[in-house]
């Protein structure tokens, strides 16, 4: 039997904000969101109540990880505006950055995947019932491999904000979902990137689940004028640092 009931349906934004403040006040300092986070109501039955079992084993299989290569992506996969006959509607952007480990070393040749709503805030997913238009020229997912400096780059359109049913008048700030691999399975990351200055930040329990303010800022990309292409697209930069030990970190740790 669950110890408590999830927060009820139909809460106001103000009531959710109160829950967010409560969770914020009781949170242990962490770079990652607590899995037990009542304001995100879907989490209620989906977080373990037992503590995670710490494992520090230099022989663990998880210190290695999947490999990807030129057979796993095509050159078109990184351009979400060219997957259909016509051009999608919306503000054309590029999102570029580097994938690093916690030592600041580039993660090379690894898979970066992203998916997002269209410019109107609608996903090309049959369960998305938001009455905003689908765009026949936009699916909204892409892949690429990081280069030798850990760099990645996508061309896409800026996604729209969209409503969801966590509480009454719940809106997600515009965001792009990212999935990343490091050199170790322990470094796996699925996250969301946000755009600077979004007025919805304060109201979103998913972003606010990252209770540390500076950690939250690391989910927000930066507008970079040097990345904008004249007469073509606006540029955003977002660097990603993967958490978790890897075999190489263990080897270096031995020398410390």
């Amino acid at each position: 039997m669950p110890l408590t009931e999830p927060l009820p349906d139909g809460l106001s934004q103000q009531e959710i904000d109160t829950e967010v403040a409560k969770a914020q006040a009781s949170a242990a300092p962490s770079d990652h969101p607590p899995r037990d986070y009542p304001p995100y109501r879907s989490s209620h039955f989906r977080f373990p109540r037992q503590p995670l079992i710490p494992l520090s084993d230099p022989e663990a299989v998880e210190l290695s990880g999947p490999a990807f290569g030129v057979t796993d992506v095509t050159a078109l996969d990184r351009d979400l505006t060219r997957q259909h006959i016509g051009e999608p509607l919306g503000e054309r952007i590029t999102v570029s950055g580097r994938v690093l480990d916690r030592e600041g070393r580039p993660v090379r040749g690894q898979l970066v995947e992203l998916w997002q709503a269209n410019a109107s805030g609608r996903y090309a997913h049959q369960l998305d019932q938001h009455p905003a238009p689908l765009d026949p020229n936009f699916t909204g997912f892409g892949r690429c491999l990081t280069d030798d400096e850990g760099g990645y780059s996508f061309t896409t359109i800026k996604p729209g904000a969209y409503p969801w049913r966590n509480h009454v008048n719940a809106w997600r700030p515009a965001h792009i979902h990212f999935s990343l691999f490091g050199t170790a399975f322990t470094q796996r990351l699925v996250t969301q990137m946000y755009f600077p200055g979004d007025p919805l930040f304060a109201y979103d329990p998913v972003l606010r689940s990252v209770t540390d303010e500076s950690a939250r800022q690391r989910l927000v990309c930066a507008y970079d004028h040097d990345l904008s292409a004249p007469e073509w697209s606006l540029g955003y930069r977002w660097d990603i640092v993967l958490d978790g030990p890897s075999a190489t970190l263990f080897e270096e740790g031995d020398q410390l």
Partner: protein
Amino acid sequence: MSYAPTPSQTVGPFYGYALPFPRGGEVAPAGHPDTITLHGYVYDGAGNPVPDALVETWQPAPDGSRAGAPGSLRHDPVTGEVIGRDGVAFTGFGRVPTDADGHWAVRTLPPGGVSYIAVAVFARGLLHHLYTRAYLVDEPGDALLGALDPARRATLVTRPEADRTYRFDIRLQGEGETVFLEFK
């Protein structure tokens, strides 16, 4: 460790047209005589199946190599479609979404040198993914298993079924909650 990590966020409900790929659970070459099936259900804390979880597996090749191999998402260069592995390289990586009834299945080869397959679980409602391990046999000398009490240990050990098939249910919360791991 000097660089501050990028925080995790939930995979959400709409990854289904992006992350799963054709034959993502077919890690073993088609028709390989050593193929095993690892499968089970994902359940939430109310005992309900989780229909929107994503299960990933990672393991050494049968010869013990942990290098993996590219080609899990091999593309047809003409159409750009993902067509699955080439049946020669063993990539060691599986990815399957749960079905509407919470079930998932991966067909693979036995891992070399260890008795477990590493598992990561992502889901709507889960703000940070979870790691666990599916042990194909209960390994008496295993340090992780040895540190757990019998009931919790049992959550990591698969149940053999007929025909090289191993059952591994994942309970996110509550009674019989699966042991989840934190790598240090």
